[in-house]
Amino acid sequence: MKLLEYQAKAILCEAGLPVPKSELVTSPDQVESALEKLGITVGVIKAQVYTGGRGKAGGVKLFKSVEEAKQMAEEIIGMTLVTHQTGPAGVKVESVILEEASDIARELYVAFLVDRSRSSVAAMISPEGGMDIETVASETPEKILKIYPQVGSPVSAEACKKASDFLSLEGDLADQLADVLNRMFDVFQAKDCSLLEINPLVVTGDNKLALVDCKFAIDENALFRQKDVDGDPNAEKSDAEIEAAKYDMSYIQLDGNIGCMVNGAGLAMATMDIILTKGAQPANFLDVGGSATEEAITKAFNIITSDSNVKAILVNIFGGIMKCDIIANGVLNAVKTTGLKVPLVVRLEGTNVKQGREIIENSGLEITFAENMADGAEKAAAAIQ
C-alpha cells in the first residue's frame, strides 16, 4: 500500500524526523487559513498523487503570495496529471499540500528497502538527490552506497560514519544524518515498510537536514497489523481488481482481448505468455487461487466478461486442490445469468477433470475444449481471427 506524501510525512514527523511544515488543502478556499496556520506567504504547493514525476507535469509549484497560492490551488486541484508513470489517461488531483520552502544548499538521497537476495533491509545512500535513482544506479553506480542494518538493532555507528563520509557530511551534519538514518530505520520496521525513500534529503543553507519529498510503501501482507496507518489500500486499483480481491482472487487488467481465468499465479502468467506466442494478446491476469468457491468462479467470469475488449475467453485450470467440477459449475452459473457472448475455450486438467468435462458437455452450451494449454491458447487466438 502506497501512502500519499502528506500521510507519509505525518508518520515521519511523529517519529521526530525533520519534515518541513505543511498543511493539506482540498479546495482553494482553504488556502488562506492554511497559510495563516503555517505562518507563511511564500512556499511550495504540491499535488497529492501516487505517481512520480508530478513536478515536471505541473503538479509542484512555488508561490510567492497568498493570492498566487490560491490561484495555483485553483489550477491544480481537479486537474489531470499526466506523467511518465501514469500513461496517457493520467490521474486526477484531489488535494494539495502547502509547504514551507526549504533553503536548498545540497540535495541528497536516502532510501530503506528490502534486499531480496540478502533477505535483509538495505539502505541506499547517494549524494545525487533530486535525480531518478534508477538513472544514478545505471549511469554512475559508484555514487550509491549500500548499507545493511540488522533488524532489531540500531544502524551501527560504523555504518552511519560510512554514510556521512560518503555524503561528505561532517560534524553536526554527520550527527544529524545518523539520527535521520536511525529514525527512518525505526519507522521502516515499525510500519512494515517495503520502501521508505527520501528524495531529496536536503541540506539547508543553515546546515540542517530536511526530508523534502518521500515515497512510502507498506507491505500488503502486514496490513492486518498496520490498521492505524492513514492510507487507502484500494488506491490505484480498478473496481474489477477490488472486486476480485474480495474473493481472494488476484486480477490485473491488461490491454489485449483474450480474457483469462487461471488457477495459480505462475500458471496465470504462463497462460498470458502462451497467448502471445499464438499471435494474440491477453486482456487480463487472473489467478482464482487454490480454494475458490463456485460463487467466486462465477464472480471471476463476470469480471472478465464485463471488460468490453474481451473477444474470447480462455479458462486454463490445473486442478490440484482446486477441483475441476467446481470450476465448471461456477462458469456455467455465470453463463446462465449473463449469457455467452464471446467464444469460450476451456482446458481442464487434474482433480475431478472427468466430472468437470461432463458438466460442461451436458450443459448444451457452445464451449470448445482444449487438450492442453498450447491447444487452448491456439483455439482462443483462432476464435478472434
Binding site: N221, I252, G266, M269, D273, I274
Partner: protein, 292 residues
Amino acid sequence: MSILVNKDSKVICQGITGKAGLFHTIQCRDYGTNIVGGVTPKKGGTTVEGFPVFNSCKEIVAETGADTTMIFVPPPFTGGAIIEAAEAGIKIIVAITEGVPVMDMIKVKKALEGMDVILCGPNCPGLVTPGEAKVGIAPGFIHQRGKIGVLSRSGTLTYEAVYQTTKNGLGQTSAVGIGGDSIHGLTHTDVVKMYNEDPETEGIILIGEIGGSEEEEAAAYIKENVDKPVAAFIAGATAPKGKRMGHAGAIIEGNSGTAASKIQALKDAGVVIAPTAAEIGEKMLEAISLKK
C-alpha cells in the same frame, strides 16, 4: 534416492486443527506419508482424525522423533511457528501459508542462521517424493517416480511440469515448490545443488518467474557445476512492469527481475529453455538427448 523427504520422514502438521491443515494432513497420510501427529497450542492431548495433537513442537519431537513439519497456521503466526519448529530440532520446515509479512521473514532468516535446518517456503505447495512422501498441498496422483528433479516458485506450474514428465515417461525423483514470496527459505540454487548431488536424479527442471535474481544465480551455479541436463521455463515474459502478478515476489522492479534477463542467463549456462509452459516435458527430453 530423492531429496528432502522420503518414506522414513516423520512428518507433523503445525495448525492441524485448522480446516486447511487437517484436510491436507489427511491427503498426505492417504498418499502414504508417515504422519506422526500435529501441533495446535492449547489442544495438546486430544486427537483429530486419528492424529495425536500436541501443544508444542518441543513436545511432539520428544514424543515422536518428528523431523519434518508442514505449517498451515495463519500468516501473523507463521514466523513464530517456523522459529518454534527450528528450535525444537525439526530439520525440514515446509511453510505453506500465504501472506506472511516480509519483516517477519527477515527475522526468521536471521534466527535460522547457523542452525542445522532447511526451510522451504512460505507461500509454497511443498515437497513430493513420488511413492514415498508428500508434504504440502500438491495433488499426489499426478506424480510418477522416475528420474527428473522438479523445482519451481509456482504451485500450478510445478504440477504442469510434473504431469508432463509423468505423461512422457520420465517421472520424478522429487518435486519441490520453493514458493512465490520475495523472502523465503530454499532458493533455486540450493535445490539445483541437491538434485545435482542426488544420484537418482538424471535431469533437472527449473521453473522460475519474474522478480528477484535467484534464477540468474542458479544459472551461474549450473554453468560452473552441473553436467546433468537442465530444462527451464520462466513465467511472466508478458507481465507489465511494477505490477505484482499474484505472487508477492513476482514483480519487475525498475529494470531488474525481467523474464528476458533470466532466460538469457539460463541459456548462457547451457540450459534448454521451454518457450511456453506447455513444452516443459518436451524440452527436458531434448536436454537429455543433447547430453548423450
